[in-house]
Symmetry: C2
Subunit: 318 residues, 2 copies
């Protein structure tokens, strides 16, 4: 697979058909309270209800179910201590093929258990890039597995792109969509779909100010990667890569940022008012909408709730 | 209104038409994980997404929008420190009429604020039945308001009954329905609807063992009321009354109970796996299904998630 193959909307249609039996068509929820508070009409696409608890099941399923029989027999592998590892393990389990996830030995036991719960194998590395790369190379050599990158992979982006296709089908015309940005997989998929189906929709990326490498990249005109930023939105720490940068650069209207306390406040507000369990990462869009009222008031705005995998014993307001 | 008027399914149909503009047709969610765990096929009717955060908005709206103009002008009143007070305030606010809620002065400030947030007036009493009754009588005398009882009221029961009507429309045939029981308003509404539309469906009530007055009433054949039982499921402490006893006695298959730790475990499991915020009270059905596996395995079971109003700063596992 050529690393810089840019997926097309045809790839999105193929992905959607391929993954339909393995993912939920997640509901879109609304809140009259949050509409009144923001002055906008908000449509929350609830990927926290997705299989394995996050939108990542879309991209992972597309990659896994697109493999040839010969590739599939050797299995898949990735490095991730978050939702992508879990989702890849879920998808591989559905196809009945091996999946190896390289995780730092310091990752929470609950995350390792969750990967294994779907039948995946966890291989531990030291918590450093050097160790992770060495261990991961060893895994690939030993298994011949297909590497499925968490976001810098056209199969993954085409899979994530199915989310905004559903959103448009569910709610009709929109003025804007706001989604969180970490590595950029969800935003890239959103750009891919909307640039074809609804090119007038403004696409906003939402990022923690403490990990605002994408916002700085956007202003600088080239990728800036930070080394280990610290934010409560732990799904958004990773940097952009070539493929996601292509979409961000060409299709994103703006990247808005929120402070840590604003993110926690938006997360708690969503739990309290919408009665849904969402991760800190997917509270960033609402946090940015609340602080940029003039930009969104009076508009129909899609908001991607990316996932709901949180440690209930360690909530950020505890 | 005669206190022992027993509502009919005709009242349910009228209620549904009357309240439709003011309530959500809440979604039904499923969980393949919980299906595997219980061996049953569970359909969760998510009234935690209902207006004001609980099914009580149905009954309260039916009572409020069924008033004549003359009655409406004098407003409504109730005593409740829980979801009914909130819901009545919501419904009265929608109609633009006064609403008074008598609450113990010891009730959490957040609950008083919530009632006022919908435009209701809070009148405080001492935390005793004597004081509550005296203060409430004074409110009725002073305002001439219509008393809307939290559950022992045919208008309220007919309103709650719209919930299982939607459930049947949404999921088709069921073998059983499990709903929590406190005063019995939701169970009575469920009996009212199912005895007409689907009389073969077994109706189970689920109750905390620490507040099992309904289960003991059911076995004894007459109402037994406890004085101030203590349970984490704080919506289920109140006793049955004549009208709800009529439905429980005649239509309920059985009343199952769960221990406090089982309720908290089921609540946490629902948050973790289904990504929804539910109150302890509505975790009781799942807790009883988990401990009565043989009774539900292989069946299609509706489960009423009655509400999602919890204090996020005081979760029972904190």
């Amino acid at each position: 697979m050529a690393p810089l193959y840019i997926p097309t909307f045809g790839d999105v249609l193929a992905a959607h058909e391929r993954i339909a039996p393995h993912i939920h068509r997640t509901p879109v929820l609304t809140s009259s309270y949050l509409n009144a508070l923001t002055g906008a009409e908000l449509f929350f696409k609830c990927e926290n209800f997705q299989k394995a608890g996050a939108f990542k099941a879309r991209g992972a399923s597309n990659a896994v179910f697109g493999l040839t029989e010969a590739q599939a027999a050797r299995g898949v592998a990735t490095h991730s201590s978050g939702n992508h590892g879990l989702s890849l393990s879920y998808a591989a389990g559905r196809r009945g093929i091996p999946c190896t996830v390289v995780m730092p030995r310091t990752a929470p036991q609950a995350k390792k258990d969750a990967v294994q719960g779907y039948g995946g194998r966890v291989v531990e590395c030291e918590p450093s890039t050097t160790s992770r790369e060495a261990v991961f190379a060893e895994v690939l050599k030993e298994t011949g597995a297909e590497f499925v990158h968490p976001y810098n992979d056209p199969r993954v982006i085409a899979g994530q792109a199915t989310c905004s296709r559903e959103l448009l089908e569910q709610v009709g015309e929109l003025d804007a969509v706001v989604a969180p940005i970490g590595g950029g997989g969800m935003i890239s998929g959103t750009c891919l779909t909307l640039s074809t189906l609804a090119p007038g929709v403004e696409i906003y990326a939402a990022e923690p100010r403490n990990a605002d490498d994408a916002a700085r990249s956007f202003r600088a005109g080239h990728i800036i990667a930070d080394d280990a930023p610290e934010t409560v939105a732990d799904g958004l720490k990773v940097p952009l890569k070539e493929l996601t940068w292509h979409f961000v650069k060409n299709y994103v209207e703006d990247i808005l940022t929120a402070e840590e306390d604003e993110i926690v406040e938006a997360m708690k507000l969503t739990w309290k008012r919408m009665k849904i369990v969402i991760e800190p990462s997917c509270a960033v869009p609402l946090a940015t909408i609340l602080k940029n009222r003039d930009r969104f008031a009076g508009k129909r705005v899609g908001v991607v709730i990316t996932g709901g995998n949180v440690d209930l014993d360690k909530l950020p307001w505890m």
